[in-house]
């Protein structure tokens, strides 16, 4: 009488197994694509014409958009380090997003700012701006004081005020390499008309020596949790994004460091204020808007402009971050679901979006089911010993192989090369992360999934204040 149930369980096992094989096979395809793309870009970036790009004025000018909310302790140092970036022509637009601490006052005191005016195109709606501040001694700095409206709203205000053709979103708490703007500009110089967005690499700063807003010495984190994230970031950027960039299906440019054509962003309607994953949503929206208008465009990921970010070192904070990311991803996928499998959206609709659906939505679900179901089946003796072994080999051995593969790419790409013993530490991290951290991560993704489903039901009840054009 248990026969039908056992058959169903066997079927589920087989599906999980098949998907696992598919998933791993496509990871290997990515790895190969990423390797090819990296070879190409390393060759191009080898001794880039940084010199001539710095001295000549054929680069586009950039507006850096820096949203700041309650960052009074760090904001001054961060702005100083941004102003010291090596680039011929840029401005720094800091937006104080209605901080409740003394973020604005600190900026005004330390940079001796006074009230200024700037005519501004109201291309994207946002909350009211209370005032603009500047100082002729820092001609590149403009500080915007606005009512609180969240990160996307702050970015939108900054985009309106920006005067330069390229805007670059930057997290106020991350650190840029001094030459990263020049390196990220390269695709725009090569394809000035079609290039609309360029993303750089984000790496984990924990363990590195940071001085005056610059990374002086690169070291992998000495704590477990940041070390795992370090490997994870390398894998996400050096395998996934390189491969997608190669396939013209790049769907994420990190909010911590991405360059966009201002006009394209405005045409797409700016950052969405109703999602938690505004950085991904913007990129998807850009793809959508360009495809629907039938304009030829390109987006590219360049591995060597590097932005350093402080990774959470407690489980609690990390959990909050990961569930939020998952929610953002699902919201974006749901909002733009008509692009899924739709050939009129090109590689993004056919490869990029389905890939997210398969590996970031369904993948964790199946993997977690497998962890429970397969040992259970093993215990009650429904499964063959060989199946059991093959499943765990696929999960763990290949998992290790892929994590190590991203280190391999990191070692190839690095214009900051790592010391042998640091590389060894990262390798250890790549092996160990498969036992525990990976499962935890999947669990958080499921939590994000659950939160998303719960929010969906109460969609209409979400309070939404009207925007004032200000």
């Amino acid at each position: 009488m248990f026969a039908p149930i056992i058959d169903i369980i066997k079927l589920i096992n087989a599906v999980i197994f098949a998907l696992l094989i598919l998933q791993n096979a496509s990871y290997f395809v990515w790895l190969a694509l990423a390797y090819a793309e990296l070879r190409r870009s390393v060759r191009r970036e080898k001794k880039p014409n940084l010199w001539s790009m710095l001295t000549k004025d054929f680069t586009f000018s950039i507006s850096l958009l820096v949203p700041a909310h309650n960052e009074e302790t760090t904001v001054v140092e961060n702005v100083h380090s941004l102003l010291a970036l090596q680039y011929p022509d840029f401005e720094v637009v800091v937006v104080n997003d209605g901080s409740s601490d003394r973020t604005l006052e600190t900026l005004i005191e330390k940079f001796d700012l006074t009230k200024i005016h700037r005519a501004c195109q109201l291309a994207i709606p946002h909350r009211r701006i209370r005032g603009l501040y500047g100082n002729p001694r820092y001609p590149r700095l403009i500080v915007v004081d606005k009512e609180n409206g969240g990160k996307s709203d702050a970015l939108n205000a900054a985009i309106n005020l920006a005067r330069n053709p390229i805007v670059c979103s930057i997290d106020a708490d991350s650190v840029l390499d001094a030459d990263s703007l020049i390196r990220a500009m390269r695709p725009f110089v090569e394809e000035p008309e079609q290039m609309i967005a360029v993303g750089g690499t984000v790496r984990v700063a924990n363990g590195c020596t940071v001085k005056a807003g610059q990374v002086i010495q690169i070291m992998p984190p000495r704590q477990m949790l940041p070390l795992f994230q370090s490997v994870e970031y390398l894998r996400a950027f050096l395998i996934a994004r390189l491969a997608w960039s190669r396939l013209h299906a790049m769907l994420i440019i990190s909010g911590a460091f991405g360059l966009f054509k201002r006009n394209a962003v405005i045409q797409a309607g700016g950052y969405s204020t109703s999602t938690v994953g505004e950085d991904m949503e913007l990129v998807v929206k850009l793809h959508r808007s360009m495809r629907e208008k039938g304009i030829a465009y390109q987006m590219r990921y360049v591995p060597d402009p590097i932005c350093w970010t402080e990774a959470p070192d407690t489980l609690q904070v990390l959990q909050r971050q990961r569930t939020r990311w998952q929610r953002g991803l699902l919201e974006t996928l749901f909002k733009h679901r008509r692009m899924l499998f739709n050939p009129s959206y090109g590689p993004v609709g056919l490869v990029g979006m389905p890939n997210f659906l398969a590996f970031d939505v369904i993948g964790p679900l199946l993997e977690m089911t497998g962890y429970v179901l397969i040992p259970f089946c093993g215990v009650i003796g429904v499964l063959s010993y060989e199946f059991f072994i093959a499943y765990f080999m696929l999960t763990f051995a290949l998992g290790i192989c892929l994590s190590v593969g991203s280190l391999f790419l990191a070692e190839l790409s690095a214009h900051h090369s790592l010391k042998p013993k640091d590389l060894l530490l990262l390798t250890a991290g790549a092996v160990v992360e498969n036992f525990g951290y990976r499962q935890l991560n999947n669990y958080w993704r499921l939590m994000g999934f659950w939160q998303f489903m719960r929010d969906k039901q109460g969609w209409g009840a979400m309070p939404r204040a009207g925007f004032s054009r200000g």
């Binding site: 010199w51 100083h80 010291a84 011929p88 610059q214 002086i216």
Partner: protein, 136 residues
């Protein structure tokens, strides 16, 4: 002999400038970033400071500003030697109190001549002929 503090992050350039300065009999102290330069300046009180514009940790322009803000260091003449040649950068530096501004690529001989000129005190007896003719 006068000692000169050179702050430059490019090791090749630092070595070349050091060689040139030593050849002309100067004593050379080296720093590879602005912060180091500031600390060395405080400790050693050099006769002149040569600053590269773009350096890690603290760039030359910020170093210049801090030097000129500090009461006991502001008297030391500072020469900027940098890739940034825009009018804005030059005016900014000279307004802050830089003694001279040299744009890279530069001529090493010219660098030495300018440093010499700054370090040689204007002899009191001689009058500037141009000045006099203007007054007359």
């Amino acid at each position: 002999m006068a000692d000169i503090l050179v702050a430059e992050d490019d090791p090749l350039m630092l070595r070349m400038i050091e060689f040139k300065l030593k050849q002309h009999g100067f004593l050379v102290r080296k720093a590879t970033n602005g912060e180091e330069a500031l600390n060395l300046a405080r400790a050693e009180k050099p006769a002149l400071i040569l600053l590269d514009g773009m350096m890690p940790i603290m760039d030359g322009f910020e170093t210049l500003r801090r030097l000129k803000e500090s009461p006991d260091l502001r008297a030391i003449p500072v020469v900027m030697l940098t890739l940034k040649g825009s009018e804005q950068d030059i005016v900014y530096s000279l307004n802050l109190g830089a003694a001279d501004y040299i744009v890279k690529p530069f001529h090493p001989g010219e660098l030495i001549a300018r440093i010499r000129k700054i370090l040689t005190p204007p002899s009191s007896g001689r009058e500037d002929p141009l000045r006099r003719s203007q007054i007359a």
